[in-house]
Symmetry: C2
Subunit: 387 residues, 2 copies
């Protein structure tokens, strides 16, 4: 495991010393990236091979910060082949706490413990809360979590069961973030909000390493990513940078395709307008609750990646999302989370309009377990338990 | 993959030709086991190694029936090390449909397709239904499922979402079984009820192979198994037989410890009485809903395994189960399913009473995702969504 050389601001490129757990760039409040001495990494690291590597995201320890990991078995999730299309589903449901959020939280909570942080806080659209709560329980760190009051019930319950301090807020994640900002200094909470600290990206970047390794150290033609805060998309692009520097992969990078629900589509709107940043999306509403992020903090990074990768951003209606969720459960035996079904619906749309060819090799992220959304899915399907 | 040589009755040892999908022994209605030419398997098979083997239960294809698998990525689940005890949690939550039932159903539905079966039926305490529904969706087979009306809502919803025919029954699994028996012949349904066909055991036996492989091809001192129908316990013991014949493992087999909820404890009662079979357990009730099996069909096999392994059977109260569930979530960051928490509670009890030593190496099966039981857990914790 390499030591962290410095944090680099993604906007103004200032370097920040890793002497303590930093949040954002002290100069411009940009997102900080973790940087290593990549020449040294290249000399000492090698692509993991199946014999010895852990069956978790820690198989990439050579490109993760040197730390004693707080691990619950996160990562190294299966890449499931569709029965009908040249699509692989990256099945992030098979993570601890049933979502991709486990990767970022495993990494960030490990570093919090390393830096001696005792109390953490974050707002969450749902799944980040569950993951934060679980890793804090494992690490013996206090978690102070703020979630919309209408999150899936599973998200609320996991916060409670893991012993976190959970507050449900009458609003969405941006309202939760306001409360975190008001309280964190006086409470002595360290803020690990999405992209407001550098290590959740490091955990999420392992999704990029895994996809490439699982495809035999090669890129697919396109990656579909349900984009709320967009950390995974940002992390994967960082992974591709690193892997190319290390000589682990080469060739044309995948088109990165950010997908959103039409009820909360700030990135899609910004993309259509050709803007460099997004605008706050009013009245965000969708049963793909993880996508209710009205103004992603890393919007400028996401839009840059979509352009560089020759990707795109699309948004889908509630009806399209539900139809795709049922299509995949009934024809493939895979119960996607609503956010994952946004991505499968987007695939259908981009094949129909010619943006992708039906022969393109595609990886679609199912970011969490459909089972965590029983109440939301039952509601949109109008299913209730018969009396 | 070896072809099936014959089915062998576990009770009267009669051989049955594998010309079609059989249910139970035609002579004595005993549980049928799948048998291979083990000399041939020994000549051609080898222990899977990490480089080439699939990251699923199909890494053991050399000891599974020759078939085109209906797979959703089941098996090869993590063995998580406790932070406090010499315990490994075998984390079966990280299976498709969030439970260990995926293994048996992947195998059985694969064989159903192989034999040309078009319609399947089973009663279920919950998780078997979800798995059956998913694999049938993937295989294009009709599933006809009967569940107690008070199953966790997630179990009901997955049946519906995967497109199965789901009937909720005012009763428990034994009432569901009665309806299956009444209807199956006239409807043309093949019955894949627990232990009433030979292939779910073949899928579940991979849990035994995995535990041994993940412990470096050695046995732990004890295995705790939440026992409703007990297929996994039976399957693991069969796996140990096979592995020893193949020379893949040696040494003293683990004590097999069947755990039950006091609200439905037919095996525990039979064990205390020194009986060879169990008696129907009246008024079965527990929030560990998967354990509401009042008369396991394979009771005689389970009791035999407990004796041969020098194991035991214990039952735990609802209060003990909930306390252990909260202990593990708050101190380890692992949200066990209620059935898994029966096993961790049993560990505490067997350490306290001296049956096990605190240095014994132990594997505890968490048979499914705690997240599938949000309604049941919230109910016993008296937690509801704040208004």
């Amino acid at each position: 495991m390499p030591v962290v050389s410095f944090f680099e601001c993604s906007r103004c490129h200032q370097h920040v010393q890793p002497d303590k757990y930093h949040t954002v760039c002290p100069a411009c409040a940009g997102v900080l990236y973790v940087r290593y001495d990549m020449d040294e990494v290249k000399r000492t690291a090698s692509r993991p091979n199946g014999v010895d590597a852990p069956q978790s995201m820690w198989r990439y320890a050579d490109v993760l910060p040197k730390v004693d990991p707080v691990t619950l078995g996160e990562g190294w999730t299966p890449l499931l082949q569709s029965r009908r299309y040249p699509i692989f589903i990256k099945e992030e449901a098979m993570n601890p706490t049933g979502s991709f959020k486990a990767r970022g939280m495993s990494m960030a909570v490990s570093m919090a413990r390393f830096y001696g942080v005792k109390k953490l806080t974050a707002p969450s659209a749902g799944n980040a809360a569950g993951a934060l709560a679980a890793y804090c329980a494992a690490a013996g760190i206090e978690a102070n979590i703020f979630m919309p009051k209408d999150v899936p019930f599973a998200n609320y319950l996991e916060g409670v069961v893991y012993g976190s301090n959970v507050t449900l807020v009458d609003g969405i994640i941006s309202d939760c973030a306001r409360i975190v900002n008001e309280r964190k200094d006086k409470e002595g909470w360290f803020d690990i909000t999405t992209l407001k600290e550098p290590f959740r990206v490091e955990g999420k970047k392992t999704m990029g390493y895994e996809v490439v390794e699982q495809l035999g150290w090669s890129y697919p033609d396109a990656i579909f990513y349900p984009t709320g805060g967009g950390v995974g998309l940002i992390g994967m692009w960082k992974a591709f940078d690193e892997m190319e520097k290390l000589g682990w992969v080469s060739g044309k990078r995948p088109k990165m395709i950010a997908v959103q629900a039409s009820g909360c589509a700030p990135m899609s709107r910004a993309w259509k307008e050709g803007a460099d940043v997004s605008q706050f999306y009013d009245n965000a509403t969708t049963f793909a609750s993880g996508l209710r992020v009205p103004k992603p903090y890393g919007d400028y990074i996401i839009l840059d990646i979509l352009r560089k990768s020759e990707g795109t951003c699309v948004d889908l209606s509630e009806e399209e999302i539900l139809a795709s969720l049922l299509d995949w459960s009934r024809n493939e035996g895979i119960l996607l989370c609503p956010e994952g079904a946004v991505a499968t619906a987007a695939y259908d749309k981009l094949i129909a309009d010619g943006f992708l060819k039906s022969t393109d090799s595609v990886v679609i992220f199912n970011t969490g377990a459909g089972l965590k959304y029983t109440d939301m899915i039952a509601d949109v399907m109008k299913v209730s338990r018969p009396k």
